[in-house]
Amino acid sequence: MTACGAALLGGFVTLYARGASALPAQALRPPGALDEDAFLGACVRCGLCVRDCPYDTLDLARLGEPVATGTPYFVARQVPCEMCEDIPCVKACPTGALDPELTDIDDARMGVAVLIDQQTCLNFLGLRCDVCYRVCPLIDEAISLELDHNKRTGKHTRFLPTVDADACTGCGKCEAACVLEVAAIKVLPTALAKGQLGSHYRLGWEEQEKAGESLIKGIIDLPDRMPNGGGVR
């Protein structure tokens, strides 16, 4: 009887916990946070990471906020991660929910910046805002400006902020700095932001480089036809 009651109560708590553990896309975990599932097992919600964050970036979720209650998170648009070189939040974590293996902040993966709205991004409109690019702690690595022809004017260049997801730490400085009313560039959870190649896909040019030669021997090179009746080369 008692056991059944306790099991029932425990069951309800578990169901509630599962329901209340979905992380909204705007809520980012601190650097080094384990995968969300493992994080919710390892974090004891003590707030020591919050205390040691010198920029007051982190906060513990209060009951009623859409983040697992008591767990640390930040919202990039409000206060981004400043990517401290000594990573005090990770050092403060007593349980390793923030992985102490993370010693170089550039290896942190809090999310991935995505230039999500090309219709409002000023650089896409042809202006030279560049703010996200300038504030990126990994400028020219995580965000670079790719040159593109401005078809609207026909004679200018557009400088398109382009994120390299392999280098982006998800610190959110770009999202915080975006000058628009609502940021055109946003940090998303990696699982939302990233696609994945089929596991059997091979990129021919990479395989060729690895092998030192083309993997397909004796390929027949067909003649290239030149345009405007230029004949065959």
Partner: protein
Amino acid sequence: MTAASLTHADVRTRWRWKWLLLRRASQLVILALFLLGPWAGIWIVKGNLSSSLTLGVLPLTDPFLLLQVLASGHLPEATALVGVGIIVAFYLLVGGRVFCGWVCPVNLVTDGAAWLREKLGLRARARPPRATRYWLLATLLVASAVTGMAVWEWVNPVSMLHRGLIFGFGFAWLVLLAVFLFDLLVTSRGWCSHVCPMGATYSLLGAASLLRVRADRRADCDDCMECFRVCPEPQVIQPVLKGSEQGIGPVITGINCTNCGRCIDVCDQDVFRFGTRFHNTMEAS
């Protein structure tokens, strides 16, 4: 009446608050140490009762929190293991549920409910068995293992109250209100003495603790029932106080005794005192 004519019993009736006041002082001082940082910028203790760091060197971690983390399949870093080791060593000595009586902030809530309940003369409506907490403890560890999450932390009123005071409540006060109303209207001493799995964990820790309340002068008991009235876990007193005929020694060994000392305060016959678990013989009483 002159001072000289006061009998011993009169003095007892006038001052019966020593351990209660010491206990409140302990609860409030510990809470103040945690709050000095966020409220006054004096960082003696950082974190909360789940895990904390004192003066930058002393890590402390709650055993039930750590059990949930372990059950979820995560092996914590050394800091948390050292922290839990220190806590375990301390409560092995002084009695596990000393945490409940002398540290836990929820005790202020549930003691308040118990006080109001008595003032209003409310009767118990439900009497869940006191073993509920152990079944809940076991269920929660299984649930943590199955889900890989520290599940109790979604509802744990103890960590919610402490974290709420230090980091901000949100709607956590609703959980505390529920605990207060449960204790007030449903079950006397309902939360701390029947349900709380955190207290249950501490009770297991204190099974062999050195510091104990002893009923050394139980022969003087005049059956006034005051100790039963004030005790949050009266089942620990009963066998000892009335146990001399069954050959039970004078040491209160029940693992759910919180060492709150309220029985020592209220007893006009000075039956109880703090002592060790040793000399638990019939001759000692």
